[in-house]
Amino acid sequence: MSDVPPDRLTRRQVAWRVAQDIADGNYVNLGIGMPELVANYIPDGREIVFHSENGILGMGPEPGPNEIDYDLINAGKKPVTMLPGGSFFHHADSFAMIRGGHIDICVLGAFQISARGDLANWSTGAPDSIPAVGGAMDLAVGARKVFVMTDHNTKTGDPKIVEECAYPLTGPSVVDTIYSDIAVIDVTADGLVVREKAAGLSFDDVQNRTAATLGGADSCTDIAVPEIA
């Protein structure tokens, strides 16, 4: 093991970090893909109810090989299980939970996030792409808090946090907190404020990888995460 502080978190460590900010008793919707990892790292002693858009509250972990039932799937169409206390409901009720402000937190992925918390995560606007939106726009405006879990930069190094989104929006001013592989950033009335940063990076390093102005230079702390493979 190296003594050099890590300059970025693994995806599982980001998921762990998001999980620490989910309170006991919260009703939570996890977006398809990376956000699904968050369910693995809820701290002991917190009872969280996971919601799935297709009509489930009280979703449990992945089924064992002999427990798979394709009538019991999550929004990503993957087989899941139910916890005691879980319930099923139809789609209009499921989205009443989302749009009616009953879901405490949703965790979504992002293509881009703007300085004022605009979220773009449904379309790159490419002319040959087939448009598909699913429940992203409903979650973005309906959940009480919107957490975004994302790599800080694209595979080619471009910042995903920008002054103005170039991609079509999912929702304007909807993001509350961004959890990236190098920082935890709150969207506030005064703009983007770094709450925590990877221990191996300076505030300026984070700013240099971000295409929007960041605050929090004097107040941010290092992210404390356990070793997770």
Binding site: S52, E53, N54, G55, I56, D69, Y70, D71, L72, I73, K77, M82, F88, F89, H90, H91, A92, S94, F95, A96, I98, R99, D118, D128, I130, P131, A132, V133, G134, G135, A136, M137, D138, V141, G142, P168, L169, T170, G171, P172
Partner: protein, 241 residues
């Protein structure tokens, strides 16, 4: 005496005509009325508009119905998936129209149609390209967009238990769009895994009351779309009974 049951899938879908708007239950590969979709292929109604959350998987059920060339337009929230090969090909070849609707707006438009609501305002899509050209209104300082109800001429729905009055239950998360689609169609056609004697479904377990159901056919061992996709099954027209 009320008896909504019919003897065959063929009889169940016989009333569907060209140009119909049809709600089809299901989310991904769960809750799809695969056998009714196949019967509709055999029946041959054309120029259809279909409403589903997705746009079919593999080459069975809804996807097979698209592949048959009977469908003019698909209204859905998420037409892309790892198994939606038929739709993607047809869309790129401009052989099918697409109307993408956010999932919650889709569900609420269907519910509104079933409940006699003439439209509703929602915050979903505000600030996005999908709100362009739509009427706006401010409530409590926040902007909302007007959405219309989305009724159907027919609904094809998969249920679990049913009785001759049309009371329905649904299996696990296969419920998804079933109950609201039953409400929203002029004629609701249901395939149920088991039709039981009246009174066998305890009233407090009824999910969709029979008032929303018109025609009912028993399909005892419904196909698993997931299994058919994994085995690359292609529906052969003429296979429905």
């Amino acid at each position: 005496m009320i008896d909504k049951t019919v003897e065959s899938l063929r009889e169940a879908v016989s009333v569907i005509g060209d140009g119909a708007i049809i709600h089809i239950s299901g989310f991904g590969e769960s809750g799809n009325p695969t056998e009714l979709a196949h019967a509709l292929i055999d029946q041959g109604a054309r120029d259809l508009t279909l409403v589903n959350n997705n746009a079919g998987n593999g080459h069975v059920g809804l996807a097979a119905l698209l592949e048959s060339g009977q469908v003019r337009k698909m209204i859905c929230s998420f037409p892309r998936s790892s198994h939606s090969v038929v739709f993607e090909t047809m869309y790129r070849e401009r052989r099918i129209e697409l109307d993408v609707v956010p999932q919650g707006t889709l569900a609420e438009r269907i519910r509104a149609a079933g409940a006699g609501i003439g439209g509703f305002y929602t915050r979903t899509t505000i600030g996005t390209p999908l709100a362009e050209g739509k009427e706006r209104r401010i409530y409590n300082g926040q902007e909302y967009v007007l959405e219309d109800p989305l009724p159907a001429d027919f609904a094809l729905v998969k249920a679990d238990f049913a009785d001759r009055w049309g009371n329905l239950t649904f299996r696990l998360s296969a419920r998804n769009f079933g109950p609201i689609m039953c409400m929203a169609a002029d004629t609701t056609i249901v395939q149920a895994r088991k039709i039981v004697p009246l009174g066998d479904i305890p009233p407090e377990h009824v999910v969709t009351p029979g008032i929303f159901v018109d025609r009912l056919v028993e399909v005892p061992n419904p196909m698993s779309e997931r299994e058919m996709i994994e085995n690359d099954v292609h529906y052969t027209p003429g296979g429905a009974t």
